[in-house]
């Protein structure tokens, strides 16, 4: 099991951070946090739960699917994909 904590400062001032535990190439646990806004708000926890158990590629597909469904102000799910990639490589 490896743990990674990666953060991105977004232009315009917001910050998004992921704390992730990776086990055997799959996401065991993940928390996405920061000073952003998401509508509907419950979508973030739902997304985190969906990402658990996913490989990097599966996770990227789920992120794409959610990008269509929810409104995010302050970052994009591409930023999360980029952070996940960093965490898997770390």
């Amino acid at each position: 099991m490896k743990k990674a904590s990666v953060l991105k400062k977004i232009k315009g001032g917001k910050t998004v951070k992921i704390d992730v535990e990776i086990d055997n190439g799959k996401i065991h646990d993940i928390v996405i946090s920061g000073d952003f806004f998401i509508y509907p708000q419950e979508a973030l926890e739902e997304l985190e739960n969906k990402l658990k158990g996913c490989s990097l590629n599966e996770a990227k597909n789920i992120l794409k699917e959610y990008a269509e469904k929810i409104t995010i102000l302050g970052f994009t799910l591409d930023d999360v994909a980029e952070l996940l990639e960093k965490a898997f490589k770390a």
Partner: protein, 251 residues
């Protein structure tokens, strides 16, 4: 002009957040009118955004040493220091259709109330998307909005005389930086009405300006009222959540 309710009151951080949530829930059910609430945090307190991790958002050691209470908001955004002698918080609770369906647009419409209020003092203020209002390039106000099915709650700050050194100490600065750098950079980034005007601005003048500013921004005619029994009762139930470790340390 449309009739809106105006509430002016104060409370501790848990009760203040409970009242805002209670108003949002009851507005969503159509049980209360569109409302502007202006209030103070007594004692001074810190709130953090719904999606933030406590340790990333505040300096816990400083808050505990100085017994500054804090809780998590239901709204997103960043951490805020609410100075009892230097900051007024506003809440707008309204039908989404009476403000704007587009989220960014609704931030702008409501934040215009702050811009107009600041202009009453002869200062130039600017709305900077997503949720900031700046004067001379420095942040003087931050806002955050939460939505239910048909109602929205947007609350935010206007700093008229906040102790900026305390503000800098309560909010988390990157650990690699020395504390003095943290204070210095925060002092360069945020400001207050008093600091910009070079005189001590009072709470009363700030409240008066906010009422006029929001009246213009929302095309609202305010009628001063008190909270309903239903709001107070629901808030009394919600207040326990805001005091709980589970909620505060949720992330």
């Amino acid at each position: 002009m449309k009739k809106w309710r105006l509430i002016i009151n104060e409370g501790d951080v848990y009760w203040n957040m409970a009242i805002d949530e209670a108003m949002l829930l009851l507005k969503d059910k159509g049980e209360i009118p569109n409302t502007l609430r202006l209030y103070v945090f007594n004692p001074s307190a810190v709130t953090i955004g719904y999606f933030q991790r406590v340790n990333d958002a505040v300096n816990l050691g400083f808050l505990n040493e100085n017994r500054i209470p804090f809780t998590r908001r239901i709204t997103g955004g960043g951490s805020v220091y609410h100075d009892v002698n230097g900051e007024i918080t506003y809440s707008v609770v309204a039908s989404i259709g009476d403000v704007a369906i587009d989220v960014l647009k609704s931030y702008e419409i409501i934040c215009k109330g702050l811009v107009y209020a600041i202009e009453k003092f002869g200062l130039k203020a600017q709305f900077v998307p997503i949720n900031d209002v700046v004067v001379n390039g420095k942040k003087i106000s931050g806002s955050a909005q939460s939505r239910k099915k048909v109602a929205l709650l947007q609350h935010g700050t206007l700093m008229y005389n906040t102790g900026l050194i305390t503000l800098a100490s309560t909010l988390e600065a990157p650990k690699e930086k020395l504390a003095s750098h943290g204070v210095k950079s925060i002092l360069e980034r945020v400001t207050t009405l008093s600091r910009e005007l070079g005189r001590t601005v009072s709470k009363e003048e700030t409240i008066e300006a906010l009422i006029e500013g929001f009246s213009k921004a929302l095309n609202a005619e305010f009628e001063r009222e008190e909270l309903t029994e239903k709001e107070v009762k629901l808030a009394d139930e919600l207040v326990e959540k805001y005091k709980s470790k589970e909620w505060i340390f949720k992330r």
